[in-house]
Symmetry: C2
Subunit: 356 residues, 2 copies
């Protein structure tokens, strides 16, 4: 991170004065010069600092495990509002990327963080977000090893956008992917759906929606490790974020060239989420989640995987929601509560913008 020179702290050249309540982001914070260094020393280092980040070079250098492969992913976060019940843009930025790595079977090793700040943002807000990133990173067991900060003029951004890219180590022998689902496999969901999207929507206060729903934003890497311990042969993992469960299942059905049959009655939804969806006319199958996963596993392993999931914090409410079949290839079908069957399609258009 070129922005951040550890020597600045060590030598006290820039004294890390604590942030004041009335300080705001100004264009100079993005200059790459003294003001950028000052912001780093006062806001970023105290919260996210670690030896790799503090090394102060253009890139961080990590030692590699002797075998396996490297997983790489990226996610930009533009959620509005920045804070919502159960999370905020910082927790989301860490968990979203940790989860993308976990979904290919990789163990998250390090994150990078790129901040685009809008001129006028209160530094207090930035500090709260960084603190939240720190807590989430600690929970997931990852570090932010490289970063970047840019500033845009007032009216050319929206407070704060965060890109987090991630690298993870993939142990040898794990082969997981959207194209690996096979007819006969069981479809497992790690818990109730729709909480994140509804929590963000309620936090906007636009829809006169009084809601007790909290976002499920959480790092799923430990859940995934527990699953692999019980079943090294997991076929597919995916977190149903934008587009919701319906879109995720459709992606898998298409990538694998299989049909996915699910049972409406088996899909867990909390009453508060169901009530909000009914009131607003939303289908919870399309609402984003940020702490849930879909797993497709060989039928003979399904019970063991479920038991392993239920023993972890973010898998307590895991359940089986359906199975993979041959036909109709590329489609998701749902047996509804009243006994009919309907096609569940990809999300068309936009339902809830800027929920992640």
């Amino acid at each position: 991170m070129k922005d951040m020179s550890s020597q600045e702290i060590v030598e006290g050249v820039v004294c890390p004065v604590p942030l004041r309540h009335d300080e705001k982001v100004v264009m100079g914070h993005g200059s790459g010069g003294r003001m950028t260094h000052d912001l780093m020393a006062r806001a970023f280092y105290p919260l996210l600092g670690n030896p790799d980040l503090l090394r102060g070079d253009d890139a961080a250098v990590l030692s590699m495990p002797p075998s396996g492969s490297l997983a790489v992913c990226t996610d930009s976060h533009i959620v509005s509002p920045l804070f919502f019940p159960g999370g905020d843009i910082g927790r989301l930025a860490v968990c979203g990327t940790v989860n993308d790595l976990a979904m290919v079977g990789a163990r998250p090793a390090a994150l990078t963080a790129g901040f685009i700040l809008e001129e006028g943002l209160a530094l207090e807000v930035l500090e709260r977000v960084l603190r939240s990133m720190q807590v989430a990173a600690e929970e997931a067991g990852v570090r932010v090893v490289a970063g970047d900060t840019k500033v845009v003029e007032k009216g050319k951004g929206d407070g704060l956008f965060i890109n987090t890219a991630g690298v993870g180590w993939m142990p040898e022998g794990r082969e997981v992917g959207g194209a690996m689902a096979r007819p006969g496999d069981a479809v497992i969901l790690s818990g109730p759906i729709g909480e994140h999207g509804i929590a963000v929507l309620a936090a906007r206060g636009e829809l006169a929606l009084e809601s007790s729903v909290r976002s499920d934003t959480a790092p799923l890497n430990r859940l995934v490790e527990a699953m692999f311990e019980s079943c090294p042969e997991i076929h597919t993992l995916r977190d149903p974020t934008r587009g919701g469960l319906a879109t995720t299942l459709n992606e898998i059905a298409r990538q694998s060239g299989v049909a996915i049959h699910i049972e409406e009655a088996a899909i867990p939804i909390r009453p508060s989420v169901e009530a909000a969806c009914e009131m607003l006319g939303f289908d919870p199958l399309y609402i984003a989640n940020e702490g849930k996963l879909v797993a497709i596993v060989p039928e003979r392993e399904a019970e063991d995987v479920l038991a392993a999931m239920k023993a972890t914090r973010y898998g307590e409410e895991a359940c089986r929601i359906g199975e993979v079949r041959e036909a109709p290839a590329g489609r998701v079908l749902m047996r509804t509560g009243i006994g009919g069957t309907r096609v569940v399609d990809l999300l068309a258009g936009e339902m809830l913008p800027r929920i992640c």
Copy 2:
């Protein structure tokens, strides 16, 4: 890249109709659903597609070399305007991250790309930027292996922001860093300074500045490899981007706890850049470059490194600009054209906002 499912193309489920001239980004392009898939199939895949990107999973999986270490970096790009003489935000996004990897001695292996699009952006603009990324990636010999696309409402962004994170393989034995400069070392600059900042400024058309200056935006990884071939013992490499040559030298002086003495007369500046700086009252030492590097090498290797640099496309005008001394530690001093010596400090405040 969850956004992008290769099967969509393979199966023709979404037919990749070419972009029309009047098409614009709408909120639905960020939904994660059908419209996102459609944008991927029509704009991103045809230009950036490769097997890793097209795999369509949450993260790309790369095989690792048997030894060495992993370099990781990130950079967000918010340059305004998006296009300028000599480059654009796409070329900048690829080169900036390739160069950050090269500056720690790593061979760029793969990039991730995170796009934040503003509602209303012409898809034609996005296509031009993607094409430029493709050309730059090919020149540098890297691939974009994972991506993400988000959309913000009109007035909450500024056309297009791109984050590129990079991973690179660092061959065993290379130990390069801002803290490695030693008294007696030679300070080398790869070519004339100030072109990028002035080119972007002129492209804004705000300053009635008629200028023939072109940005130097370029991938420096091949130059760096040539340098390591001639001298495996390079101490420091850094590209003087935001904050310019002056800020970069100050960072190195502080990280290494040394003094850097430079000769004003030895620093190459093209007459067109000099003229623009004089007219605008800017000091070229603080103007951003995007295709230059500073190298600090043992004195006995300096001539060989220079010769190796001059034999490459982006090092033809390389020259020696000074030397590292013990005192005054943490400072940069310049012998001026008229024979005096002045302290060259870090950039204070903001000179040219949003030049990268």
